[in-house]
Point group: C3
Chain length 376, copies 3
């Protein structure tokens, strides 16, 4: 993963800079953190949000005496929960992940290039991302690269996913993080949401701490879902890259021949400190940098497009169609909202080089596009 | 319902003010009123829209000689319609509502508080809302509070809903209003839409006047729908709170144990005269002020999320999933467009304190979130 | 089709001008053209995009020696494809279309009028559109008007559509165009997408050139879809009007009694050079200018609403409901994303004059509304 900062074509970059920023949406967002509202709309604001997040202390917990006196406290805050086990025949699927910072290059090709248009892309394009990195057991060593998105967690119905999460953010960015999953079943202890005095165990993983989440894969969990930070600073941290996917397969089913998760999101100046907005797929901008998906005629294809910013997107693949939400309507273009998944399933029958992209044209032209290559 | 205007933490408020405004969308909107286009983008503009609306005279009616000479007039404008009766076995469900102004507090807790983050919220948070208030027969007396949203109108398939609407706006805001329903069947007379010279009877209820709408609940009307003003100034008035819900149940069916309508909408400075945008659920911002929904394991739950502004939202509940549009796809996050309803049905099986919120993060962090409490 | 430029009510127009512009969205968009990013945010920028597009030379083609040395080249770029023939019992449906400029009036009524509100609309309202115009065989003569949208291409499952497209843009606007279809099946040669060095035959139709696309109507192609420019300047050209619809019918099926395609899109100052944004349906703004649809009780109605800009819309018809995506949920208001189609099918049973409109109120009030007239 390249993380160098090569020389900048400043003029080119600036000509897109302010303007590309405006064209693609302000990229500003509001964060509620530890008793403060912080608007992140320019580079320095992220540091303010980090500072506010650093001041958020570990809550005493929903069952504490403090919480029971908190306005709005309820008997449900005193409930205790057991950690789920797999269903008969199911298994425990275990992951070790650390949340860390990593230099991340949005356009890693050199020279930087949009391979669709044969267009040079001006740098710099690297920023300090927050990512979930896969680790070996006990967080002993890195088990894979530090990437946007984090690793895809996969299991079958009846399994439980056990995810050990270590907060390995460096001092400069020290703050609590969590991991909140979509689609699976969890008790409040494993919700992974910071909730002030009502926070449960998994809702605050302080710097240097780790926590183990246990989630159940129900029959109605089948499909692809996102996970992401839901700690005190989760809006900014999610925008920065602290997200990934969960795929729950039906028990014992044949899996698709090709399965690909595509996060549709933006990386904007307030988040990156860079001079322009990038419209991204899996943290990358522009075809040839975004995932190039390679398939073969006859394969069963499953593409999961998931929104992961504040915008609505519209996912399109050239040369193919799918059943919208598995129903009777055929589509080749479907709306994807924030944290929403659309599932694109088809049997591959059309060889060649194809584009996939967001059909919001300003997103597409700002990098939210990629290649899909099909061999006969 | 608190409507006081306590002391303002101006610094805090202003720091969110212009910026929160920008972060959350301009909150500006355009109104076509009585031959004028009026852009409502700052506090004083609403008064201009009100003045324009006050000048809109009662149309002579689509069947009048005037209307028959209006460019674009059609023979369908001369049609007459009968008022529908209930189907065999059905009944008339009757409501009396008055449209009035009411002081409405977006964050009524004192001290004002976001109970999710334990965060203080700066005031003022009250504004002059327009609401439909339930009344006793003949508009004799108030039958319930003046709230955002108005009362939920409920019936079964085969019934007719008969709604008597009184325009009780005070002189300062004197203008015509209407009530336009979604989902049910109605003739043009009961459409409740102002249409200039083509306006039918229910399309203009002048100050001090009342009108009785009669709507049919068809089999395909099953579900939850919105009603809202569709008079000469309906864009502004709907933004101000002149809306509510209709629920049509299948005939004779068991009803859900818990049924809750949640309107997702914003209250912005041009509408409220306040200093910042609030992202709201049922007219309230921030968990603990927005509806706290209380359920119990084993209950059949029906939550209806309805968009009621110019934005697209994405409804999420922690710890739960539902069938998207009743089909085969399971989701926990679904797009909701303006005046669109999504239906969230599940059997409750997961006790604890949960968050529900819009997954557009700037909406969530700006108040569009609430608590869902489930007892074992 | 009126294309005069009558006298301007400047004051009225300007009062909406900058403000209507802001209210309805900036209307700015980013174009990647021939190695450049060009932000189209004001009138002069379109000329810059045109100049950049004029400089894009015809690619040597994906199978050329040049392309095989292009970074990212793949064996799939060397594949050859055969032109499809109809399925047994199917036929070839042939169209001749020329891409040309045409003066297009967004509000053609005189005096300009919003027939819903009886409101005068200030001019000018004409601009230089790019459109696909139907021609007779061999492009011998015009076979219909030059309109937004282009002609609807209709066929049945098993047919092939053969579209001959002539680039008849005048010297001032000389640049390559294409035609990219949704929904139907095509090989890369007939994708109609400019892809730099990877461009296939149909991905660049230079000034004065023509190309013949051959597309297959599969069973899963049933429904309505858009076609639009996907050449080097496709974002701007699509915004300007270079789009239309394809309808694929089931083989041998009875067709709906009334079938209507409605494109929901905007025409903004950066595209038109006019002083304000217009929210449009089929290139027109304001009821009475937008399509007035005329139906009769008992008819089978099919309305296809297709998004064709960068915004999300929400399609509503008064007095009617339909099954969302043909499923079990009834709706009268449905989200439509860019290049997405929603299908509104019902049996007409409700006579009168009805409104249809986008339920994003600023879109509706800015012209995205029309009349639906139903005779008994």
């Amino acid at each position: 993963m390249p993380n160098s900062e090569p020389k900048v074509n400043a003029a080119d970059n600036l000509s897109l800079g302010r303007r590309g920023f405006l064209a693609a949406g302000a990229g500003a967002f509001l964060c509620s953190i530890g008793g403060q509202n912080i608007l992140v709309e320019k580079a320095g604001d992220a540091a303010k949000a980090d500072a506010a997040a650093a001041r958020v202390k570990k809550p005493a917990g929903a069952k504490s005496r403090l919480a029971s006196k908190t306005p709005g406290a309820s008997p449900v805050d005193q409930l205790t929960f057991t950690t789920p086990e797999p269903q008969p025949g199911g298994k425990v699927v275990e992951y070790w992940l650390q949340a860390r910072v990593a230099s991340w290059d949005i356009v890693p090709s050199r020279p930087r290039r949009d391979f669709w248009h044969g267009m040079a892309v001006a740098g710099p394009t690297s920023f300090r991302a927050f990512v979930y990195q896969p680790m070996t057991e006990g967080f002993a060593a890195e088990a894979g690269p530090a990437e946007i998105p984090g690793p895809t967690l996969e299991c079958e119905v009846g399994d439980v996913i056990r995810v050990h999460v270590l907060n390995a953010l460096p001092d400069k960015y020290a703050q609590a993080i969590t991991m909140h999953p979509h689609g699976v079943r969890y008790t409040p202890e494993y919700d992974g949401a910071y909730m002030g005095d009502f926070t449960r165990a998994g809702g605050y993983i302080g710097p240097g701490e780790s926590f183990t989440y246990t989630w159940e894969a129900l029959p109605e969990s089948v499909g692809a879902w996102s996970y992401h930070d839901h700690g005190p600073n989760h809006t900014l941290n999610t925008m920065r890259g602290l997200f990934g996917a969960i795929i729950v397969h039906p028990r014992g089913s044949a899996r698709p021949d090709l399965s690909k998760v595509l996060f549709l999101h933006s990386l904007a100046p307030p988040t990156t400190g860079l001079q322009r907005v990038f419209q991204c797929i899996n943290g990358r901008s522009y075809a040839g940098n975004t995932p190039t998906i390679e398939a073969k005629v006859g394969q069963e294809i499953a593409i999961y497009a998931i929104g992961m910013d504040d915008a609505f997107h519209d996912f399109h693949i050239h040369g193919h169609r799918w059943r919208k939400d598995g129903g009777s309507v055929s589509t080749d273009n479907q709306t994807v909202g924030p944290a929403e998944t659309i599932t694109v399933r088809f049997t591959e029958d059309n060889p060649g080089r194809w584009l996939y992209h967001c059909h919001v044209m300003s997103h597409q032209d700002n990098g939210m596009a990629g290649f899909y290559l099909v061999k006969p």
